[in-house]
Structures are given as structure tokens and as C-alpha cells.
Amino acid sequence: MSEQKLTGAQIVIKALKDQGVDIIFGYPGGAVLPIYDALFQQNDLRHVLVRHEQAAVHAAEGYARSTGKVGCVLVTSGPGATNAVTGLLDALCDSIPLVCLSGQVPTHLIGNDAFQEADTTGITRPCTKHNYLVKDVDNLARTLHEAFYVARSGRPGPVLVDIPKDVQFADGTYVPPAEVKHKTYRPQVKAELARIEEAVELIANAKRPVFYTGGGVINAGPFASKLLTQFVKTTGFPITSTLMGLGAFPASDTQWLGMLGMHGTYEANLAMYECDVMINIGARFDDRVTGKLSAFSPGSKKIHVDIDPSSINKNVAVDIPIVGDCGAVLEDMLRIWKARAKSPDKAALKEWWGKIEGWRARNCLNYNRTESVIKPQYALERLREALRGKDHYITTEVGQHQMWAAQFLPFDQPNRWMTSGGLGTMGYGLPAAIGAQLAHPDAIVVDVSGEASFLMNMQEIGTAVQYRAPVKIFILNNQYMGMVRQWQELLHGSRYSQSYSEALPDFVKLAESWGCVGLRATTVAEVDQVIEKMLAVTDRPCIIDIAVDPRENCFPMIPGGKAHNEILFGPDDSPSDATPEDGMVLV
């Protein structure tokens, strides 16, 4: 092996290239100047300059979620690192593989309250899957390779590597990825066969089964989504999914019940409530999904497949826990199902589907179709029609528009839908869209947004313009923080405390000031026109300001502390008896 010495900064660049990184999202500063100098002197690794470090992390998340690769971020010490914290926690909550490199003050100044010093590993410890402080340049390459391994293995997540400035200048030895093996971290990929066999028997004997799938299937790669689809088609069972799992099973299929949970469909939630066998693959019984825990699917046997043992029996006690990668487990399940020539109980299934079709006939996503005002649901239906058959990716911000997007936009493939599920970070969608667009330059990328969320990271239009990322920012402008207003209406006597979006900019002029295209729709007739114009723009970002009904609320809704069978369908359902005292305290 050649003993060629490289500087720490050169080692960083070489390690990233060897890890297959092609784009890194970042923002320079004093403590990372050596790395930026090394970036300047090469052409393989493309750096994308964001306008705020939080956005660098979200952009890397958008890149990672739309490609299945590890996203990469570079920030400076102190405020650079603390600005990245929200993004890191967002990636942790949604299990997104990222490596974030942060500069640090030189090792001899650490702990001295130096300029732009922060205890970055201390601050990010609970916000990352793992983090490192590299004090010796000879450990740098090994640590970086380990960071990528940890980020993508097992339940993926963000890993931070803090690199003091003197380490970036120092000469050290490079080791290639193949020579680095983590000492201990070996997540279990293949599950115990006995458990899978048990699960197959339970599935075969089910009378009222339902598949409940989540982001774990997406994270296991497109192959896992194919296997899931195959297994669900083989059994003929109904399937629902969490917000994070949309796209793993095609939404255009008749077995698809729609999303479940607080704003999920009636048929999905009732199927969960009344099922006798629940097959959870890669979901984590999140509180948005379960509602009132004591009344959650009371009569069912539960199978839970998850790569993270700590997800099992955390919120809901299950009957058959299976620790393993969703793809590997589905492969074994299908194989055993076929080998044992299993078939579902057709008669019971027919009766079960009959019941489900009855719930489906309730048409829970119906809304008041009117010509007098643009309903947000209508705008999304028109967007759906315009995108049909086109190669597209959707990101969202957080709030009502996010739930409507999940309800009204269908996903037939994985990795097409990116939204902040666990942390619920307003301002996620625009940078995530930029990350997805740079990974897929020829595809259509739409950030379904609200006017309040958009304002949280709108500086990133500058990034989109600079890198000619023609993202479409589809603002459902109701002049409110809509979800906050909805809760205030239902739970706080319509006292709209601080939820009105005062002093909004003219979004069309805002777009034009950046050299983007700005479009506005204020009447129902204009919606199709602006969508058509928006899709015609391919060389620059486009902001679409859609003036929607400011009073519209997102239904169906299961209020906090209520069970799946206590669903509100619309404004006519009385909110006064909707929420019990103990439910009020829930978020």
C-alpha cells in the first residue's frame, strides 16, 4: 500500500468520492475553509451552496429519499452546526441516511469558548444516530467510512463527523473503504425463520386481515416495495400505509385503502380497528396512527416487522415480533407462503372486503365542490390530473396542505414522496425539492406548500435559481397557519391566537425579483391554466400562489385521544363532544 500523505481536507474529499458521493450540500465558514479549498481544486464532487444550513440538511434529505443513497452535508462550526440541528433531528425521526461534516475550532482551542465554537457532538448527540469528533488526522478516513456505514445500515439515520480545523490541515494517511470494518455495529438483516413461519400461518388463517406498512419498506429499497406488492397481490388482502410509507404499494390498485391515522381514510382506519390480523411491515405504531392506545385495534393479533428492536413493543404490544430488514423478511415470507402452498380464506376475505367496500362508499375524502372559491382539495386534484403519466416527485411542507397532499396525490412507486413525518418541520419542502431536483434534473419536482411554511425557508429560492433547479412551489395560500387554525377552531373555541398570516408578500412579484416565474390563481377557472403554465417552465423555479378557501379544514380527522372508530367527517360533526379532556393535552 502506498504511504502517500494527504491533508485532512484532501482525505475528506477522497473519502466522499470513494463513498460514491456526487453532490454535497453546504455553506462555508472559517472552520471549514481547508475543506472548501480542497473542493475548489477538484471537479468530481459537486458542491451546492444553500442559503441556510438547515436547508442544506433538508436538501440532502430530499436527495437521499429520492435516490436511496446517503445524503451529504458540509457546515462550519458554531452557528453552522447549530443551524443544522433541526435538519439532523428531522432525518433521525424519519430514518433518512445522511452524513453531516461540521468544522470545529482547532483541537487546542476546544473547550476555551473560542470564536464560533459549539459543543457540536454534545448538542447533536440526541439528534443523530451517531456522531464523532476526530482529533487525529490518521483516524479521519476510517471515521468517515464508518460514518457512511452507520448512516445507511440497519435503521438508517444521520451521522455527524466534527472535524477541527487543525486536523483538516494536518498530513495523514488515507485508508480506502474496503479496509474499514466497524468493530461492533452489525444490525440484524435476516430475521428468525421460526417467527416468519409463525407469521405465515397466522396470515393464512386470517379472516379480517390488513397490511399496515411504513417507511421501513421504502428504506429497504425498491426491491422491498416490489416484494410487498407481490405479497399483497398474492394474498388479496387490503393494505394501508403511514405517511412515510406512501408509494411502496401502488395507490392505483384496488386493494389500496389510502393512508391511515389522524387524517387517514375512513376505510383504512376502520379496517385497522376491526381487523383480526394486523401485518405491520416497517411502521412504528406512531401516535398519529394509533390514536387512543387502549382502543387501538382491540381484537387483532399483531405481526410487527422492524429492523429496529426498540420499535417493537414500544407503544403497542405485539404477538409476533420479527426483527429484520423489511425486504429480507418479505422475501422469506413469500418463499415460505409459496413453499407451503398457502392460500387465504377466500370466503372470509370476500365478506371482509364487502364490509370495507361499505366503508369506502362513505367517500370520506369528499368535499364541498363549489365554483365560488378554490378548494385546496380541488387544486390538488387538478395537479394530480396534470401530473398523471409524467415522471414526478412531490415534497411538502407541514400542515393542512401536507395532509391533503397525502390524501389526494397518488403514489405508485417508492421514493417519489418526501415529507417531514416524524418531526413535522415547516420549511422542509422547498430545500427537499431542490435536493430531489438536482438528483433528477429531468423530472418534475413539486413542493406542495402553504404560505406560512414557505416563508420559513424561502431564502432557498436563491439556491434553486443558482443551480437552475426548476422546482415548482405550489402554495395553497389560505392566509392562515391552517392546521393551527383548525385545532383552534375544534379545541379552543375558534380563538385564532396568532395563526393568521399577516403581512404576506406578493408571491408573484417575489418570484420575479429572483428571476423566477410567478403565477397566481384566484378563481376556480384559473387553476388549470396556472398548472399548465407551471409545467411548461423547465429552466427556472416557479412559484404558484393559489388563493384557496381560508376556512377549509382537513377531514377526516380523528381528534387526539380518540379511537379509530370515532372519526370526524366534516364541519357538521360537532367538535364539542369530539375531544375528551385527556385528549386536549395531546398534540
Binding site: 451517531h130 466497524h182 461492533t184 429496529d308 428492536p309 426498540s310 414500544k314
Partner: protein, 168 residues
């Protein structure tokens, strides 16, 4: 029954690297678990491994969560629930300083003898006793000494090991 609070002694083998203890403690504070006792020291110098022994309490579901959460920390090698995995030996070491003269001083020395505590420092007006025993033995000793002029106590917390030939 399911919600009964159980007390468990858990041994964790970790890489002795910066921040590892903060990770473990942060896990407990961040998720609202109890720590009743925690001890840590390097046990394998060549491989830089440390052993953490912690005593915690919670419902069965919480105890299982604690073990799963510990297990998913990257620098953790192994997690063993000594309370679940058959009989084990648990010991604690205490240094107990008692000040006084006359009858109380004599009684303190007499009780120390009964508890097989060693005198590791003596002046004309004080003793420091060293005692090794189970947590309840140490509790008892400290309780008695409190009435005889205890001025200071320092305890290591529990270290534990499963009985029999099997290794961790």
C-alpha cells in the same frame, strides 16, 4: 401484573470512547427512564472496553425498551439483564466516616466488626470504615452509623456478575 414496577440490574459492555457515558445517560434522561445506580470503569485495557452496571426500575415493557434502546447505541457491544438471566452476585463498596468520642465511638467500632467493615483511617475523633456488601447491607450499616456520628458516606453503586462459569 403487567404494570408492576420491577427493579433490574443491567450490565452493558461498551467501547471506551469519548461520549459513550453521555450517550447512555442521555438516553435515560431523554426518554424519562430511572437510574438508581450506575457504575462504569474500563475492564479490558487492550480492546478499550468498559463495563457499565446500572440498576433501573420500570414496568416490564419499559425494561425491555431500555435494553433495546441501549442495544441500538452504536458503541454498545452487549447488553445483559442480570436480573432476568439467572442468579447473580451484586456488591457495593462504601466509605463511611464517623466522628465522635466515648461510647458512640466504641459502639461504631463494634458494629463495624459485626459488618466486617475495615478501618482504613483513624484519628482520635474519627474513623473511616470500608464496607463491601449488598446494597441492603450497606444501607443497614449507613443507617446504624447515622445514629453514631456519621458525617460522610461515599458509595460506588452496584457492580454485578452472573453466577457460574459462563462469561459476559
Amino acid at each position: 401484573m403487567e404494570n408492576a414496577i420491577e427493579k433490574h440490574t443491567i450490565a452493558v459492555l461498551v467501547d471506551n470512547e469519548p461520549g459513550v457515558l453521555a450517550r447512555v445517560i442521555g438516553l435515560f434522561s431523554g426518554r424519562g427512564y430511572n437510574i438508581e445506580s450506575l457504575t462504569v470503569a474500563e475492564v479490558n485495557n487492550a480492546d478499550h472496553l468498559s463495563r457499565i452496571t446500572l440498576v433501573t426500575s420500570g414496568t416490564r415493557m419499559i425494561i425491555e425498551q431500555i435494553k433495546a434502546q441501549l442495544g441500538r447505541l452504536v458503541p454498545v457491544h452487549r447488553v445483559h439483564d442480570l436480573t432476568d438471566e439467572g442468579p447473580s452476585v451484586e456488591r457495593e463498596l462504601a466509605l463511611v466516616k464517623v466522628a465522635g468520642t466515648g461510647d458512640k465511638r466504641i459502639e461504631a467500632l463494634r458494629l463495624a466488626d459485626i459488618f466486617k467493615a475495615k478501618v482504613v483511617d483513624a484519628t482520635l475523633t474519627s474513623f473511616i470504615f470500608e464496607l463491601t456488601g449488598t446494597t441492603s447491607q450497606v444501607d443497614d450499616f449507613v443507617g446504624l452509623m447515622t445514629q453514631l456520628g456519621l458525617v460522610e458516606a461515599s458509595r460506588t453503586g452496584v457492580v454485578a456478575m452472573s453466577k457460574g462459569p459462563a462469561a459476559f
